[in-house]
């Protein structure tokens, strides 16, 4: 095992732990993107460039974008509900 491979493995372990330990969903999405980059590096140094190419787009862009859109939708709905509640109280 080369030094580069050990570094990549440690990076993935740290980034994966960071995703789990990040409390807030929005920040978690950003950390997930970083975790994706770490995984890409891992696949690359383990000589799997085909997988690395898919990984960098799917976890770097694809997944975060969908989570961000979903989070935004949830917040829009929460804002609309609290607005409706205020109107009802008036």
């Amino acid at each position: 095992m080369t030094v580069l491979q050990i570094i990549a493995l440690v990076l993935v372990a740290v980034a994966g732990g960071a995703v789990v330990l990040t409390p807030e969903a929005l920040r978690q999405t950003m950390v997930l993107g970083i975790y994706g980059i770490a995984l890409t590096l891992l696949f690359f140094v383990f000589q799997a460039p085909d997988v690395a190419l898919s990984e960098i787009v799917v976890t770097g862009i694809g997944l975060p974008l969908i989570i961000l859109a979903a989070l935004r939708k949830i917040r829009q709905q929460q804002a609309r509900q609290s607005h409706a509640r205020e109107e009802a109280e008036e």
């Binding site: 095992m1 085909d50 969908i66 935004r72 829009q76």
Partner: protein, 254 residues
């Protein structure tokens, strides 16, 4: 479930998983040594018998071409499911009419000049790199799927610059649907070509060409283009469906 019950459940399940994993690791070949036979056969067969220099693409489009057909339609079916679930409902259409025209482009316009400039530089690079990956599938690392997702990231750069409606003009929903469906159909039809000309579904009737050239390895370049079309359409369609739900519509808190 209380926190204590959850923790207890995790400890039992975690310990079980650890035992199974450790037992499993014991049976693995040591680091850097694979179970040799399978890899050796693939590494020997694909470059000599199929003239493909990227063995991973050769695996996907030759050795397990039928599995790839299944994966194609898994992607197609799941995107169809997303499109069905996130379709515009009548109530939402009524809400949309209340928006002032022209306001949508500013909903996401918090992008700084630096981000805008980076996006502008990224767009041609992503398109060029994606096209390269699709067309060189059988030659270098990459192929239809990888090229497709990179191509799909191109219009996303337009979104990052804060221009969602411009992105929709570049990649309108109808075009994405056609691209998704055409790619999936093309892969199935290429297989049918094999059935007609050789009598075996997905068998390769085309000449193999010179190894290392753009048009070589029989049908692999065609398969790669078909998968590229489908994946680009599928990913952009999914993203567009999600953004239509959030970026266009009544502003939050109103």
């Amino acid at each position: 479930m209380t926190r204590r019950v959850r923790l207890g459940l995790f400890l039992v399940a975690g310990a079980g998983l650890a035992v199974v994993l450790l037992l499993g690791f014991g049976g693995l070949p040591s680091f850097g040594h694979a179970h040799e036979l399978d890899g050796a056969v693939v590494n020997l067969d694909e470059p000599t018998l199929r003239h493909a220099t990227d063995v991973v693409t050769a695996l996907n489009f030759d050795l397990r071409a039928f599995d790839t057909l299944g994966e194609e339609f898994i992607l197609f079916a799941s995107v169809t499911g997303v499109a069905l679930l996130l379709r515009t409902l009548r109530q939402e259409e009524e809400e949309d009419q209340e928006i002032t025209p022209g306001i949508e482009d500013h909903r996401f316009a918090g992008a700084s000049d630096g981000v805008k400039l980076t996006s502008l530089l990224l767009i041609p690079l992503l398109i060029a790199f994606g096209a390269y990956l699709v067309f060189h599938g059988q030659l270098t690392p990459g192929g239809g799927f990888q090229g497709g997702v990179v191509l799909a990231a191109g219009p996303i750069a337009v979104l990052l610059a804060g221009r969602y409606l411009s992105m929709k003009r570049i990649a309108p929903k109808r075009l994405l649907e056609v691209s998704d469906a055409l790619g999936a159909a093309a892969y199935g039809l290429i297989g049918l070509g094999g059935l007609i000309f050789t009598g075996v579904y997905l068998e390769d009737p085309l000449p193999l060409g010179v190894s290392g050239q753009l048009l070589s390895a029989g049908m692999m370049p065609l398969n790669s283009i078909a998968v590229g079309l489908e994946v680009t359409g599928a990913f952009l369609l999914t993203w567009t469906q999600f953004f239509d739900q959030t970026l266009v519509g009544p502003p939050s808190g109103s």
